[in-house]
Structures are given as structure tokens and as C-alpha cells.
Symmetry: none
Subunit: 417 residues, 2 copies
């Protein structure tokens, strides 16, 4: 079944607020078999609201509306809905009591402007909002359902989870929809799609493959839709498995998760201590790993060795390296990761040395050149990459390449799949 989302509020249009509600709604409704076919953001204007709702109901039978339910003058959604449905207001006793208890708890007086939040259009059913002051509303008229909710993310989620999801299952017949996602690293979208060309042809019409490229990664997402939940599950699992086999080593993880987060979790789960000696990535990889709660169990620390003097003094890179092959070299990367392994008592250590740009390039060493080293007790290995983009993109790509090397090393040296 298709549905649409309508968000009301200037803050979304002028870019003051990033709309995270829609992504949450899209993801969670998909799990119930409700496909969001369109999202529209408009301003707090009566004409805009009425015409956007009328347009949406020409396309779908189910519309989720967020925003414009606050107590202040610029919030006009409720008034506009009453006008649209041609009804008056009634004061809801449940909401009244809830407001009184909230204000009593905060030791504040309930003003008339607050009390009016209990006034709802007569034809709607109230969707109680325990975590806020504005109730949700369910309108079901002429075969079309409209749900109005506050735009505050946790209030919207609360109302959806506790009031709307159960009602959707009762009110609509929805098919089962499943998504299976795998993340690849290092293989471009065009090459993947060539590899998967034959596989794609075998897909039945109700299962689709999408390519979602980012920096040195492509997410492959299989989406299936059916009324036969058990059959679909088995079918999807089979196709997903085939797809992953076709891609072989390009598959980083058979889950919708970033390579850095996946590795952080793997390290924590298997108690493998990691350290880093970063030059050109300037702490980017360490910082991304450290974003994972619980990382302190497997991360003692790491060093950012930008200057040659620090590479030499803190990581024992011999000075002759700088005179001969230079700091951006396989040899330097090797010394760096091997020293970081010892210095921080780690089980696995990663080093980076390269040219992030825009300055610092030479004819032999262009912007984007990077050597990534990995050391464990069993030895070390270094790989050379050419990565492009801004400094930030360069670091992101380098991190993904490094995580692919860590993944392979976790398998080779620790037997972790």
C-alpha cells in the first residue's frame, strides 16, 4: 500500500531544521508494508495545506501529516483541518487532564493558550500523546485516512509506535515488504552493475535491486514485496545469497551498517585491540572508531604523526627513509604500523601516509596517493591507493580502504569472518 508524508513548517523549507522524521517514517512504515510514494514539505499556510492534502488524496488513501500543532499563532494545522473537514471543535477530556497533570508536575500555571491544545476537530479520533502537549489526530472520512502529529521527533515516534502502527494493521490490508542490504567497499557502482547484470535478469518483478553509492562504498539493496510473508522471506534470502556470491570479495558486510561501525563492533565482540598511526588521515579513522560506545575495551589510544620529526621520534621511522623514499612510501607506512602496534599494546595496528591535498603534491606523488599499512603479531602488509576528492572525502575513502584491509587481516590472522 502507498502512503504520503506531508510536513508543515517554515523551518524545514529555510533549512533551519533537517527533516529526520521522514526517514524514520519511511523506514518504519516499510516494515509494515506501507510504501511512502511521496513526501511533501510546505509552509504554515492555510491554502498550501488544503491544496497539498487534496492533491495527496487524489494519489493515495493514507496521508501522514506532521507539524504545525504548537500553541503559538504560526501553528495553524488544527484549525485548517477543521475547515477542511467542515466541522467544529470539541474539548477532549483526556487531553485536558493530561495537560493539567503536566503543568502541575512542572509547577506552572495552565494558561488558556495551553488549554486550547485539548480542543480537537469534532470528526477526529484523538491519538493520545503521553510525551508532549499536542495530541495526534486520526481522521477517517470517505475512505481516506489522515493522521496529524506534532513535528517534534520523539512525540511523533511515540504516537506512531503506540497509536498509529496498531491502527494501520486493523484498517488496511498491507503486503509484506522486506529489504536485504549488503555493503561493498572499493568496487565502483558501474563495475558492480556489470557483474550483477545476469543476476538482475533472474529477479522476479516483485523483487528489486538498488545501488546506493557513497565514498568508496556501494550499498546493494534487495527489496521484495508480497502477500505471502514466509515464501517471500525464503525467496529473498536465496536471492540475497546469490547476489553476495556474485560480488565475492567486494562484499564488506551483509547488513546495512558502515564499514567503520562494523569493524568497531567486530573488534569489541572479539576483544581485538586496535591502534593507529595516522599521518594524512589526521585522526579521522581513530575518531570514527571512537564514536562506537564501548570502544575503550579495545582501544588504548593512537597517534597522529603529521611531521617527519614525530614519525621518527615517536614511531622509530629511520631518518634515511625520509632522505631516500620519503614519508609517503610503503616503507614508512610499514614502520608506522609496526611501531603503533608495540607503542599502544595493540593486536592490530593501522597506519596511513599520503597526500590529502590540495598542497603537498610532487610529479611522482600526486594528491590522492596514500599508503595504508596493517600490522599484527604475525607481520605487516602495506597497500597503495589513489583516492580523490576533498580532504574530507579523501579521509573517508581512506578509512573505508583501511577497514577492508582490517577485515581481511581479521580473517587471515585471527580467523574472524
Amino acid at each position: 500500500m502507498n502512503a504520503e508524508i506531508l510536513t508543515i513548517g517554515d523551518e524545514l523549507l529555510i533549512g533551519q531544521t533537517i527533516d529526520t522524521n521522514s526517514a524514520w517514517l519511511g523506514k518504519n512504515l516499510a516494515l509494515l508494508g506501507v510504501q511512502i510514494s511521496r513526501k511533501t514539505a510546505i509552509s504554515d499556510s492555510e491554502n498550501e495545506i488544503i491544496s497539498a492534502i487534496n492533491e495527496a488524496f487524489q494519489r493515495v488513501d493514507f496521508l501522514l501529516v506532521t507539524g504545525g500543532l504548537g500553541p503559538t499563532k504560526d501553528d495553524i494545522t488544527k484549525k485548517t483541518l477543521a475547515k477542511l473537514y467542515g466541522c467544529g471543535f470539541r474539548r477532549d477530556e483526556g487531553v485536558s487532564a493530561h495537560l493539567e497533570s503536566i503543568f502541575a508536575r512542572r509547577g506552572r500555571r495552565l494558561l488558556e493558550i495551553n488549554r486550547q491544545q485539548a480542543d480537537v476537530p469534532e470528526v477526529c479520533e484523538v491519538l493520545h500523546n503521553e510525551v508532549g502537549t499536542a495530541p495526534g489526530m486520526w481522521f477517517d472520512q470517505k475512505g481516506k485516512v489522515l493522521v496529524s502529529m506534532p513535528g517534534v521527533p520523539n512525540e511523533m515516534m511515540h504516537i506512531m509506535e503506540n497509536r498509529v502502527f496498531p491502527r494501520i494493521k486493523n484498517r488496511f490490508k498491507t503486503p509484506e515488504i522486506l529489504h536485504y542490504t549488503a555493503v561493498t567497499v572499493g568496487v565502483p557502482e558501474s563495475l558492480l552493475s556489470k557483474q550483477l547484470e545476469d543476476f538482475e535478469k533472474t529477479l522476479p518483478p516483485h523483487i528489486k535491486l538498488a545501488y546506493l553509492p557513497a565514498l568508496n562504498t556501494v550499498k546493494l539493496r534487495l527489496s521484495g514485496q508480497s502477500d505471502e510473508s514466509t515464501i517471500l522471506r525464503a525467496e529473498m534470502a536465496g536471492y540475497f545469497d546469490k547476489m553476495c556470491k556474485v560480488c565475492g570479495d567486494a562484499i564488506f558486510v551483509r547488513e546495512d551498517i558502515s564499514p567503520l561501525k562494523h569493524i568497531a563492533r567486530q573488534l569489541i565482540q572479539h576483544n581485538i585491540k586496535i591502534s593507529l598511526a595516522e599521518s594524512c588521515t589526521g585522526g579521522f579513522i581513530a575518531n570514527q572508531l571512537v564514536m562506537e560506545p564501548g570502544i575503550s575495551k579495545v582501544f588504548n589510544g593512537s597517534i597522529i604523526s603529521y611531521a617527519n620529526e614525530i614519525k621518527q621520534r615517536e614511531l622509530d621511522v629511520p631518518t634515511e627513509i625520509f632522505r631516500t623514499v620519503g614519508a609517503v612510501s610503503e616503507e614508512c607506512a610499514k614502520y608506522m604500523c609496526e611501531s603503533a602496534l608495540k607503542k599502544f599494546n595493540a593486536d592490530i595496528a593501522v597506519s596511513t601516509t599520503g597526500i590529502a591535498g590540495p598542497g603537498g603534491a610532487t610529479p611522482e606523488k600526486p594528491v590522492g596517493l596514500i599508503y595504508i599499512g596493517i600490522a599484527t603479531a604475525k607481520g605487516s602488509r602495506v597497500k597503495k591507493y589513489y583516492l580523490f576528492g576533498t580532504r574530507e572525502q579523501f579521509m573517508n575513502r581512506a578509512a573505508n580502504c583501511a577497514m577492508m584491509m582490517v577485515k581481511n587481516t581479521l580473517f587471515d590472522d585471527f580467523g574472524i569472518l
Copy 2:
């Protein structure tokens, strides 16, 4: 002038991607006097795309379309636009050459599927995309302008900044709009707005003040609109100066720039070497500084000392500190920054030690507690903060607090304003 945004792609509807493009577009177009009046997200479906474009052009003359320009089968925007404008394709030589040079640089073969990215609808003008493979396209037919761009954020931003913004000024009549922005650190929005209450009353109707709060910072933006450019400029400068005086020490910088970027630039300009010893911020501050090109002139390196063992061995924190006051303490922060100063031959060193959460808290040391230390040859100082939010928010807030301390130290110890 009003414009609309149309985003194409299932990933936005099923919630796999959060739409950050629209907020960026809304914010940056507003600076040019273009108001986003509606944003619509639809799937990669020809019918949907055509009807959404036709609907939008009934409301506005300017439509920005993002997404659906990849090389794979599910990307149909380009084909659909050619159909909509009733034209064929031409291969663009500039794009062809760009694709060849990208693939040559990466040492990869240019497949026909990649080469087709140089095929564009005959009636469009190509908006060259230096940072990606899919070009932007500018359609200007029957008084209506449609801009099609890739959905990848940095590519979209690159095309907007370099190709679309200049064209908007030429193609449309937009009034002169000026923005003067100052960034404050550490003072909450509610307090600032109280301080600025009287100042705000003196503003003429064509000059407005906006508060843009973020993590421990509030941007104060004065926006003026007029047809008399020279008069407006003088007027704005006067009001901006007054506003900054009212805020006093809360003003971090009189420019729309992040505190971290501002400090990085100050350090480079005055040749002051910085280093860091980060515990709870896990390389966040170092990595943000390193994002600034040219930082290598004043950044030798830094250490992330997560475990006590590393704080002791690498930064000479005495073991008795851990037994008595603990690693999250004023004393530990002091040792850390003083050692980092020496270890990395720096002129100024920053240390952080705290509880980023969600774990690790004790009744005396709650999540959010952090000590930040600053050392120079003249001595060191430590400040204690309570910062809240997720791990990432905690690190952002901590970085802003640290930058305020660096700014004050640059003035006190180096005479840099």
C-alpha cells in the same frame, strides 16, 4: 522569488538516506533571495517525475531537481527529462574528456555504461561537475528553469556554488540581500536574546536578526534586503558592530565560520604550533583542525590517550593520579597538556579528559563531565565543563569549549586578537 525542490530516489522515501541536501539548498538559496516554497520527494518512476515537474511549474518558475543521475538502470531522471522536453541526446565532449581523465587517473577502463554519463538531453546546458561523473543540467524553456543535479551532497553543492548561484543572479531579478554573521560560543540562545532585546527594537523593518543555535554555539545573523546596495551595506555594518558590542566576550568570531576552522586559520597565519592529547574526544579536535588545508605548517602531530596506561607511559601522568583523583580530573588534564606541548614541540597544547558516555559514569563523575587543559611555555590552565548529548554532540561541544580557551590563550600569551 519562490522556487521548489524535487528529490528523486527511493532511498529517501524508504528512509535509508536522510535528506540533508534540502536543508542546505533552503539555507543557501535564501541568501540569494530565493525562497523554497515546497519540497517534494518522489521515487524513481517516470510517471511520478513527469507529473511532479508539471505540478511544480504550475506554482513556480524555478525548480531544483536532485537525484537519479547514476549510470545504472534504476536512475532514470535524464531519460525522463529528455522525454519531458521532447528532445534526443547529444554526447557532451567536455564531460567525455572529464570522464576519460578521471578513469585514466584511477587506472580503470571506461566502460560504455560510464561513457553514457556524457550523454545529455539536446536542449539542456551542461553544468560541469568537477568532483563527480554525472554532470548537472540547466533547462530553460518557456520561461521555466529546471536544474537537474546528482543527489550526492558534495557534488550537488559543488554544482550549485560554481554553476547555479552565478546563473541565478543573471537569469532572475533578485533584490540585494546582505548577511552579516557572528558566532558566539558558550552562551545559550535565551540569554543572548535577552541581552539583545533592546538592540532588536532599534532594527528597521528591512533588517532582521536570526538566532541559529548549534552545539554550544549560536550564530547571530543580521539579514538586510534593499534595492540600494551601498546604503544597505553601510547601515548593516553599523548595526552589526552594535550587536557585537552588546554581546561582548560571547562573540567568538565576526564571520560565518566554525570556531575550529577559525582557530586553525589563526594558528596558520601566526605560525603558532598546536598539539593535543585527547582522551574522551578521541581525536575529534585534532581531526577537525586537520581538515584545514595548510595545517601541516603548525601541526606536528598529537596523541589519543584513551587508556590510563597510555596517559602514564606516553604523557608522564603519575600513577598516583589514577589512584587518587582519577583520570577524569583537573590534575590529569594538566599533566596531559603539559606533556603534549613538549612531546610534539608545540607552542600551545590542548588536553581533554572526561566521560563521553553512555557508559563509564560514577555518582561523582556523571556522563558529560570534562576537563579541558591548555598549556603554553607560560604555564597551563584547566577548566571543567558539563556537556550533554550523544557521543558526537559531546565531542562537538567539547571542541567548541576548547577553541574558546585556545582563543583566550592566544590573546593572553601571544597577544593575538
